[in-house]
């Protein structure tokens, strides 16, 4: 018989996995909503953050320092990608741009995976070492709780930035009406760069969050990308709130399916959910 406290434990782990999914989904959503580029390299960005953090930790630094260095490194890499590849992609318009975005970021994934595997051949974890916490008889994974808190704070800051600051407002203007934004003096290309760098950092954080609980290998990159795609499909690719909701919801669904029917079926459930949503309401993404 499954006890309530076990279920509570599964739920907390599910929420933590949901935070990871939400961060990835937000990363995809920000960039697609703003520039019509579907960043298929986003999962690899997440893996990169884990690898950088691993290197820093191995050199004797603390976990927090490692996380900060990793996020800065991934953000800087995002800037490079934006200035080079994406600049070329943004030259084309409409469907042409979408396809070009898909192809080039796909190429980027293959390239990065090919480079990284040479230096990081095994699997890497970032141990949080916080043990377990007992709450009213239920044993909760400490790592999951930390992730929940970090995720909630970061997402709150992100929303605060988009709603509260001038830059955030400018971003949302471009989201809604590019021509209008240009008329009031907002430079869409600048905003796109900012958002791409931001999305790289958010994805990087997603990777770190995931690695706090499980091992990450270079080959996980594309799998993470597909998770990100699923979240943005289910949440509606232009809606940040949708991405977060979908992330948390599917994180829970996945963890419970994992618990009751096994990981193989759980993964299939994730993909099938995306397909069903895609068929039911395609307008959310097109």
């Amino acid at each position: 018989m499954v006890t309530v406290s076990t279920l509570l434990g599964v739920a907390v782990d599910g929420l933590a996995f949901g935070v990871f999914l939400a961060l990835l989904g937000v990363g995809i959503t920000l960039v697609f909503g703003l520039g019509e580029v579907l960043n298929l390299a986003i999962g690899t960005f997440a893996v990169m953050a884990v690898l950088v953090a691993t290197v820093v930790v191995e050199s004797g630094m603390g976990l927090v320092v490692a996380a900060v260095v990793a996020l800065v490194a991934v953000a800087a890499f995002g800037l490079v990608v934006d200035r080079t590849i994406l600049s070329l992609v943004y030259r084309s318009e409409g469907e042409e741009r979408i396809l070009l975005g898909i192809f080039t970021t796909l190429g980027l994934t293959v390239f990065l995976d090919g480079v990284l595997i040479n230096y990081f051949p095994s699997r890497y974890t970032l141990p949080l070492n916080v043990g377990t916490v007992s709450v009213g008889g239920a044993t909760l994974t400490g790592g999951s709780l930390v992730i929940l808190v970090v995720g909630a704070v970061v997402l709150a800051v992100l929303f605060g930035f988009l709603r509260g600051t001038f830059l955030g407002k400018a971003t949302r203007t471009v989201f809604q009406d590019e021509t209008g934004a240009r008329l009031v003096g907002v430079n869409p290309r600048r905003i796109r760069t900012l958002i791409f760098v931001l999305s790289a950092a958010v994805a990087g954080l997603g990777g770190l969050v995931f690695a706090a609980g499980s091992a990450v290998a270079v080959s996980n990159g594309f799998q993470f990308t597909t998770f990100a795609l699923i979240i943005s499909i289910v949440g509606g690719v232009r809606s940040l709130v949708g991405a977060v909701t979908a992330g948390v919801l599917l994180g829970l669904v996945n963890q419970f399916a994992n618990f009751f029917v096994g990981s193989y079926i759980a993964t299939i459930i994730l993909f099938v959910t995306a397909i069903v949503v895609l068929l039911a309401r395609p307008e959310a993404i097109s």
């Binding site: 579907l38 590849i85 469907e95 396809l99 070009l100 190429g107 390239f111 595997i117 594309f222």
Partner: protein, 344 residues
């Protein structure tokens, strides 16, 4: 805008290429490694021809070539084992299943007016479902360790003629490729080709002049998926062993996409030229010891550069160069496809 070479010229080109490939094994006779490379090349070209029909001509970006090929390969083998019949009997059944999957995907996408991004995401998700099933349904598929793939009783034929099994498979695949190109030529030089062009150009306009967009897209989806399933079974036969890892997005789709784009979308020989170039590069990289570990990195970099700067493809570039030099006289329409196809 239909400015492709005439049917006769294209058929002649295909015949020349077929003849070249028919004698190709003679040059490397006895080297089963090169015979494998040649067979692999033709199989990749076959996938690219199929993708050309559905993506090149009707703008439906199928990103589950690997998954469909897997369904064809696993389906053929598992059915043959379960019913204790020859794989020759179950091959068309498995291919038909693949065709129906393609038909369904295209039908739903066309009915619901999916954009190319939506179709690509939909098929990518299906691909991942297939991949999960191949790995996860251990009792059926042998999980990630797979099983030996020795179907189609090629040994009997090989013994009868007195050649190697590998060579029999090679010529079988070549035959399949020539037949497929024949189907392709018939298709694009018929009313279907005209309809495909119209649909790609402007779907709404095509509909308004009485072209049944859903029907044509669905047909393209069926034909392509059927071919992919068919090819998939021989793909596994060529390796002699079936593994889920051989049918993933990164293992099949990425390669096939590059082949098609490098060779030239919407060209008859593009898939073959592309396969020669890409498989050639692959073999070069994997044979050069110093480059081996960088194979996939170089491949990825190549992919980015090609997509950014070289979207017109080799075949079209060469054709235009020949035209400029006044070496070809058999074109129907003049050089307008540079503008019409400059898109991607």
């Amino acid at each position: 805008m239909s400015a492709r070479p005439s049917l006769g010229a294209e058929a002649r080109n295909v015949a020349v290429v077929a003849a070249l490939f028919a004698v190709a094994p003679l040059a490397v006779l006895g080297s089963s490694y090169y015979e494998s490379v040649l067979a692999h090349l033709l199989l990749i070209a076959l996938f690219a021809v199929a993708l050309n029909i559905v993506f090149g001509h009707t703008d439906q970006l199928f990103l589950f070539v690997g998954g469909l090929a897997g369904v064809g390969a696993y389906g053929t083998a598992l059915l043959a084992d379960a019913l204790s019949v020859s794989a020759w009997v179950t091959l068309p059944v498995a291919a038909l299943v693949c065709g129906l999957i393609g038909l369904l995907v295209s039908y739903v996408s066309a009915k619901r007016k999916f954009t190319v991004v939506l179709i690509s995401i939909l098929t990518l998700n299906l691909q991942l479902v297939f991949s999960e099933v191949f790995v996860g349904a251990r009792d059926l598929t042998g999980g990630s360790t797979g099983f030996p793939y020795e179907y189609f009783e090629l040994g009997v034929v090989a013994e009868a003629i007195g050649v190697e099994e590998k060579l029999v498979l090679y010529y079988l695949v070549l035959l399949l490729l020539v037949a497929t190109l024949g189907v392709y030529l018939r298709l694009v030089h018929s009313k279907y080709g005209v309809a495909f062009d119209a649909i790609r150009e402007d779907e709404i306009a095509a509909e308004s002049i009485g072209i049944d967009v859903v029907r044509y897209k669905t047909i393209a989806g069926f034909v392509a998926a059927f071919l992919i399933g068919l090819t998939g079974a021989f793909f596994a036969r060529e390796s002699g062993y079936i593994l889920p890892g051989g049918f993933t997005f990164l293992a099949v789709d990425v390669v096939v996409l590059i082949v098609l784009v490098v060779g030239g979308l919407r060209t008859t020989l593009g898939p073959i030229v592309g396969a020669v170039i890409v498989v050639g590069i692959e073999e070069f990289l994997s044979s050069a010891q110093s480059l081996q570990s960088w194979q996939s990195a170089i491949f990825g970099a190549l992919l980015i550069v090609l997509f950014l700067y070289f979207r017109r493809g080799v075949v079209r570039s060469v054709r235009d160069a020949l035209d400029d030099a006044g070496l070809t006289g058999d074109r129907e329409g003049g050089g307008t496809d540079a503008e019409a196809d400059g898109g991607r």
